[in-house]
Symmetry: C2
Subunit: 367 residues, 2 copies
């Protein structure tokens, strides 16, 4: 794409976002869809967790935000439930019965949470949903085992389910787990490499595997439960993947330029830990003097001790090298591809409303 | 059980083992069954591993013994394939078609190997099947991810399978994973506790969850694939569980009194690392002067620097406190229970031959 085309797309995306924020109705609709999905799926999630024995039940209850570390009840923050909402919205979009897909939606959410538990162990991340991560509270072994057991419970939900689409959904979810693991493996491998030695295509592929794959799988599972044909299921998967990549691009923009008041994280959080996020990799790969300047500022991998001024200088260098514009244009491009693919699976625009609201919601997060 | 009854049972068990060893025919038959199972399942295992992307494929190939750490081919030692052999033997015992249960047998073996990969990470075990463990070669993250992906591949095999029993088998295998995780969680928790503070019932429950559960599940899955009714499936599960506990008891005896030439491990290996194995816990729980003497020698948890003479003194103390006799009598008792439960599922003795040979093989290992 030419530079003017990129800018034009970024401008359009910004306008779309601004218009939506001004009206606020999609966000409102998405919030209602998410709240409904959380309410529908919560009993299944709790049943799956309560069926776990001893220490794993405690870790899972804590991770889902239902208990404090000391075992006392918490009015939890179990996450936004984007993935189960996508499952149920996809069922609805294809004319199926969402109430029959609640267990499948719960299985997708359990799978997501198993990967979070394990990723936090591997990445040594200390915070998740504004609380200490499970491994910091219960140790590595209990966090790994809780993750393993939650993956098993996800598959058990589908295997014990009578729905004719359950086996196909289980196979798709298991294949997705392999892709999620691959995304995490590449992410861990990139961690240790010099930032100038990381290519944009491999970073995009990693983001698709880590984030796009499960959003795509959620939509595809919804399609399967609604009796969609192969082509519709693949189009739904592609919709979720593209929306997932758009989300990741926006999330990476927020990780650098997000307002600390809104994000709850310090300014330039991703730069402070030298995360190889998409805007940074794109900026470094852009060539020319601005990229060289950024490479010099970025230095070798690993966290640094820097003040806000130094981090803001890096953020400016990323912006000068085109990283911010590129990411916003790419996000808009992926969202438009998502919309295209969705129209293949769901030709009637009104039927696609729920899925579109959710996709717009996740890509507008923090704005 | 009274002391004379325990001794009598131990004597009978020893006689049975000696007679079998003299004739050697069950061992021969078991070896043939195992070799056949390995040959049948190997292509499915390789397909599941080859379908993994990048780093996880490398870790899995290494773990299964098909590749060296540098990626060159190895004429591997992928384990004895006891679990897939149990699946196929159970199908045969119930009059089913073993060739239709090969994928299910592979799914059980994949599940076993996923737990080995994760257990080694948690236990920081450095050796598995006479080679460095995967995490020591590839790091924790890649070993955890390979395990996660292998669990997913096991479920995928069953979900993509057309067999009418596949969903029931998948549900049973997933429930078994939760039990395996619980066994490992209790094992890790017991590690850190004072040996005199560990009860025999909880150690037996841990051994059943860690070892008995998957042997039971393998037999039950075989039953499901042969179209067995609920009662037969539960009897097969109980057979595998009892045989698994008998195996663990004998394995623990070998871990203390096994011949280093045969085991490939140093004498008293389990005592050197203060493993809370069943004979030790039974000896400590026996009460009286011999138990007190052992407790004093055993000391707090953790590895010690001791010579062979000191370790042999501890082994003698375990024996004096009745730990060895108890374990052998318990093993014989569990084997006899296993045989009872098997006869409920498979009333015709000849049909049960294969399963019995396998059970006798695993409980005679190293003798």
């Amino acid at each position: 794409m030419t530079q003017p085309a990129v800018r034009e797309q970024a401008r359009v995306a910004a306008e779309v976002a601004a218009a939506a924020a001004a009206e606020g109705y999609e966000a409102q609709e998405a919030s209602a869809i998410l709240a409904q999905a959380r309410a529908a799926v919560d009993p299944e999630l709790r049943r799956a967790v309560e069926a776990l024995p001893g220490s794993m039940r405690r870790v899972a209850r804590y991770h889902f935000g239902w208990e404090h570390a000391d075992g006392t009840p918490a009015t939890g923050n179990a996450g936004k439930a984007v993935r189960p909402a996508l499952v149920l919205a996809a069922v609805r979009a294809l004319g199926g019965r969402p109430e029959r897909a609640v267990r499948a939606a719960a299985a997708v959410e359990l799978t997501h949470n198993f990967t979070l538990l394990h990723d936090d162990v591997m990445d040594r991340d200390a915070t998740r949903r504004h609380r200490p991560t499970a491994w910091t509270v219960f140790g590595d072994a209990d966090a790994i085992l809780a993750g393993d057991a939650i993956q098993a419970q996800a598959q058990r939900l589908l295997a014990e389910e009578g729905h004719p689409a359950a086996s196909a959904a289980a196979a798709r979810l298991a294949a997705c787990v392999v892709e999620l693991c691959e995304g995490q493996a590449v992410d861990v491998a990139l961690e240790g490499r010099d930032p100038t030695d990381v290519s944009l295509p491999e970073t995009l592929a990693m983001a698709e595997a880590k984030t796009g794959a499960l959003l795509g799988c959620a939509c595809a599972v919804g399609g399967l439960y609604a009796g969609a044909d192969d082509e519709e299921v693949e189009a739904l998967d592609a919709f979720g993947r593209c929306a997932g990549l758009a989300f990741q691009l926006i999330d990476d923009v927020i990780g650098i330029w997000g307002d600390p008041v809104r994000t709850g994280k310090p300014a330039c959080a991703d730069l402070a830990v030298r995360k190889k996020s998409l805007p940074v990799v794109a900026a470094l790969a852009s060539g020319g003097a601005a990229a060289d300047e950024l490479a010099a500022l970025y230095g070798p991998p690993g966290p640094k001790k820097e003040g806000v001024a130094e981090l803001e200088a890096i953020a400016l260098a990323v912006e000068r090298a085109g990283g911010r514009d590129w990411a916003q244009a790419q996000a808009a491009d992926h969202m438009s591809r998502a919309v295209d693919r969705l129209s293949q699976a769901v030709p009637v625009p009104e039927a696609a409303d729920g899925l579109l609201s959710l996709a717009e919601f996740v890509t507008r997060r923090g704005y």
